[in-house]
């Protein structure tokens, strides 16, 4: 999958960035670092959303073969548009309705023919950017703990409060809710013919997502935008976890020790995304290697570590080594040392 590869690459890159940060400032507290970075990412995401919105207004239409984050965008940002897109989504695919609703929202369903050529290029670029976004998000998921999420959510809502008046006010008067539905649905059926093949190919996962926020939509018009936004935020996070891009990351919500329980050294980013055993016991890579050389049993449950733990069964730890520029299993990345082993290693 295109989006998957993007996500992986992005995760590796961001972990590299983190590692650099850590190396540059070892004394800085890791958690604080992560929190700040996460906040920045979210804020920049929100900003991107804002800029996208503006470009839509200028003439481009956001028919991205949208993966996760675009839907999130629509669920977070364009809450007011849902009420319109929702009815048509009953017979169309969810993806189409959501992708189109902003367009018809801003353009009122005009100039569709003119938009077509611009759409394809913009859609590809936006698909990449949204892929990056989702990569960031899922990477954040894996080491975040709950209070961090709350902080992030606070930052997000705070930002959106500022942003919302600008996006909402022009949309509202143009198209009254009831009258907007029929013309849209006709437009969408025509668009669906052109769009569906590529959307099917790139994003097969878009359909189940609509289900996740559809119950929200039922009472959406009555409730305030902010309330349901906060509501939809955690469900989005859960959904992303459940999808299985990084499903093992969900375990880390439960308990995340800040230091290795074996050597009591602080866990760095690579260590804290390392989950060698299904029992959830975490330790640093260094200690894991030492244990593998000794009796090879997990300190948490005393079971033998899986021989093929790098194959992705119990939380794979295959990653893109920035030094050797190969996909490798990293054995030891602490204190400037860097010892890598090939995937066809001795284990």
């Amino acid at each position: 999958m295109v989006s998957d590869s993007i996500i992986n690459g992005q995760a590796a890159v961001s972990s590299k960035d983190f590692a650099k940060k850590k190396r540059a400032n070892r004394t800085a507290k890791l958690k604080q670092c992560k929190l700040d970075a996460r906040r920045e990412q979210w804020l920049s995401q929100v900003k991107n959303k804002g800029s996208k919105e503006e470009s839509n207004g200028a003439g481009g239409s956001p028919q991205s073969p949208l993966p996760v984050s675009d839907e999130r965008k629509s669920s977070l940002d364009n809450l007011d548009t849902r009420s319109r897109g929702e009815e048509s989504s009953l017979h169309d695919s969810d993806f189409d309705s959501m992708a189109n609703s902003p367009t018809s929202n801003v353009l009122g369903g005009n100039d569709l023919g003119k938009d077509r050529p611009g759409t394809s290029s913009s859609s590809s670029s936006s698909s990449i950017s949204s892929g990056c976004c989702s990569g960031n998000v899922s990477e954040e998921d894996d080491d975040g703990c709950l209070d961090d999420w709350e902080a992030v959510a606070d930052a997000l809502t705070a930002n959106e409060k500022q942003q919302h008046p600008t996006t909402e006010t022009p949309a509202q008067p143009e198209i009254p809710i009831a009258s907007a539905v029929p013309p849209e649905s006709t437009n969408e059926t025509s668009e669906a013919g052109t769009l569906k093949p590529e959307s099917k190919g790139t994003v097969p996962r878009s359909a189940p997502n609509g289900r996740a926020w559809r119950p929200d939509d039922v009472f959406r018009p009555q409730s305030l935008p902010n309330l349901s936004k906060q509501h939809s935020f955690p469900t989005n996070a859960e959904r992303r976890c459940g999808r299985g891009t990084i499903n093992w990351a969900c375990h880390s919500f439960n308990s995340q020790p800040s230091s290795c329980p074996i050597c009591y050294e602080d866990l760095d980013v690579t260590d804290s995304s390392f989950l060698p055993c299904s029992c959830g016991f975490r330790l640093c890579l260094f200690c894991h290697k030492r244990i593998l050389e000794a009796d090879g049993r997990c300190p948490g449950c005393r079971k033998q570590y899986d021989v093929d733990w790098e194959m992705g069964v119990n939380g794979a730890f295959i990653y893109f080594c920035t030094n050797c520029e190969l996909v490798r299993r990293c054995i030891f990345v602490t204190r400037g040392h860097h010892v890598c082993e090939d995937l066809s290693g001795s284990y």
């Binding site: 050597c263 009591y264 050294e265 016991f281 000794a294 948490g300 005393r302």
Partner: protein, 157 residues
């Protein structure tokens, strides 16, 4: 090696921090050798060891925490899983069930738990084990209490 030393040093700091919290265990590191520790543990209540203070000697191997520490009683104790003469302890977590996640502190806690719940089926002290296995709880308790008074309590007067 370096790793075990670093870990023991961290444990030492942890012990200093938790000293007030856990008054049943008093872990002391040897002044000159961080691989030698002694501990004073209080006999658990509602056992024949209640009121006694027992001294343990820890010898920590270089491979710690991958290898378990060697622990033995310095204070004489009448217990089915403790050798009466040498003070050697028969406890699975000190042998094959050791996990590097254990600490010296948690070993002390495990030994206190062993004092409260003896395992007569794997005895190092056969007399004690036989008393328990034959169901003579009273005989076992009186013997254990006697040795606690003799060896683990401060002499009066």
């Amino acid at each position: 090696m370096q790793a075990s030393r670093a870990r023991l040093f961290k444990e030492y700091k942890e012990v200093q921090r938790e000293k007030v919290v856990d008054s049943d265990i008093q872990l002391v590191c040897d002044d000159s050798n961080i691989f030698k520790w002694t501990a004073l543990i209080k006999g658990p209540t509602e056992t024949p060891y209640e009121g006694g203070v027992f001294q343990l000697a820890f010898a920590v191997p270089e491979q710690y925490p991958l290898q378990p520490p060697q622990v033995r009683f310095l204070t004489k104790i009448f217990h089915p899983n403790v050798h009466f003469k040498t003070g050697e302890i028969c406890l699975d977590i000190l042998k094959n069930a050791w996990s590097p996640a254990w600490t010296l502190q948690s070993v002390c806690r495990a030994i206190i738990a062993l004092m409260a719940h003896p395992e007569p089926d794997s005895p190092l002290n056969c007399d004690s084990g036989n008393l328990l296995r034959s169901g003579d709880i009273r005989g076992y308790e009186s013997m254990a209490r006697m040795y606690t008074r003799l060896a683990a309590m401060p002499k009066k007067g």
